[in-house]
């Protein structure tokens, strides 16, 4: 099973707190000296806000921290997955969260720290997220009792392309395929480079376009594209569509593992039979937990 990183793995457990009556200039110097970029603000022993370096920069230096800080700080549990924290940062527009562990504030999570960490979850060649991205979203949707579909793609004869034209050309093709997939995947779906020449899309099933339609459309887009050196590129897809009528069993991670595996085997099957898509079906209720 894939290991999803959580806030607990990265947040700063050692942190400073400043007083609400401290001057902005003083805190700016303090941040520079200590290489901090944010900290909680206390008033008479009570947490009243957080202040970041960005807040200090946009505030008159004569002001006190109370007039520069953000009130009502957001506290997140240490066990929150990093992807969820990222969504929350985007939703709130904040630059720092407080972290709670065992019922007390135990540290801070600056946005830039999270972004650096998530950078390692982005594939450097294609700029796409790695597989844990769709695992996280898949599990989240399953836990919310939403049905999901997985479409798994791989590039046909990519090994031959690599050997015939060289790895540099192979890399260019991977980048171009990724760009096409990214541009043509619905905004509510989740795309990742699974590894090598393999890509996966997670779709919530309430979207207008189902897994099969999406697979055919993306395959069509790629086959019609003019690639470097006039190389013909096509993809095979395997898909599995969730249409369950009974409540799923408890382990959504296991369900994700199995759905991805079925879709991946589907793409191999499609390739073997020279088809664009192999649509896998759930054979029995017990097949997927």
């Amino acid at each position: 099973m894939i290991n999803i990183k959580r806030v607990a793995n990265i947040y700063h457990k050692e942190f400073y707190a400043v007083d609400v009556l401290d001057g902005v200039s003083k805190i700016k110097s303090f941040f520079l000296e200590t290489e901090n970029s944010c900290c909680p603000v206390m008033d008479d022993g009570k947490l009243v806000g957080v202040i970041t370096y960005k807040d200090l920069l946009r505030t008159h230096p004569n002001r006190i921290v109370a007039d520069a800080m953000r009130c009502e700080p957001v506290t997140v549990p240490a066990e929150m997955p990093l992807w969820q924290a990222k969504e929350l940062f985007e939703e709130t527009g904040l630059d720092v969260f407080l972290v709670e562990e065992e019922g007390r504030i135990s540290g801070i999570l600056p946005r830039n720290l999270l972004e650096i960490q998530l950078g390692s979850h982005i594939d450097l060649l294609t700029g796409l997220y790695k597989s844990d991205y769709i695992y996280y979203h898949g599990v989240r949707l399953l836990e919310n009792e939403q049905e999901i579909s997985i479409v798994f793609f791989d590039i046909n004869k990519f090994g031959v392309i690599d050997k015939t034209y060289g790895h540099t050309v192979g890399d260019i093709i991977l980048r171009e395929v990724s760009k096409l997939l990214k541009e043509n995947t619905p905004s509510e779906a989740f795309l990742c480079r699974f590894g090598g020449d393999e890509f996966a899309v997670l779709l919530p099933t309430h979207l207008d376009e189902g897994a099969a339609a999406l697979a055919y459309r993306l395959a069509d887009t790629i086959s019609q594209h003019s690639f470097v050196s006039g190389i013909k590129v096509s993809i095979s897809a395997g898909a599995i569509e969730g249409r369950r009528h009974e409540k799923r069993a408890d382990d959504p991670w296991n369900t994700m593992d199995q759905l991805i595996n079925i879709a991946s085997l589907g793409s191999t099957e499609a390739k073997k039979s020279n088809a664009t898509l192999f649509m896998a079906e759930i054979q029995a209720a017990s097949e997927i937990a």
Partner: protein, 115 residues
């Protein structure tokens, strides 16, 4: 050989005026980038004149907040008063200024009664 004579003089001037209590009048308008923020003003006022002023944070491109003497809001509803202050104050305040304003309110009441 000539000897230069040097002399230094200091002139002292002192202006005495009564310290205003509190050092603000009816209303203070605080610009978004003023050197003193609304929270600092509130704390100062609360120490000097407890429970006499209220801070109203406003959604305005230039003004961050207005500090209003509570007594004024007994005469006019807060919304109407802040709307008036923002309308007039917004014309002269810039982001870095703090303006104090004297506000006189006269309420005219006319009533006819049966004799």
């Amino acid at each position: 050989m000539s000897i230069m004579k040097e002399s230094k003089k200091a002139e002292i001037q002192m202006h005495l005026t009564e310290f205003e209590m509190p050092p603000m009048q009816d209303v203070v308008i605080v610009g978004r980038n003023a050197p003193i923020g609304p929270e600092a003003l509130k704390r100062m006022v609360d120490v000097l004149s407890p429970n006499q002023y209220k801070i109203i944070k406003v959604d305005h491109p230039v003004i961050e907040a207005i500090v209003v003497r509570n007594a004024l809001m007994n005469m006019i509803p807060e919304g109407k008063l802040s709307e008036f202050i923002l309308e007039e104050g917004g014309k002269i305040v810039d982001e870095s200024t703090i303006i104090k304003a004297h506000v006189n309110i006269t309420v005219h009441v006319s009533k006819s009664i049966d004799l």
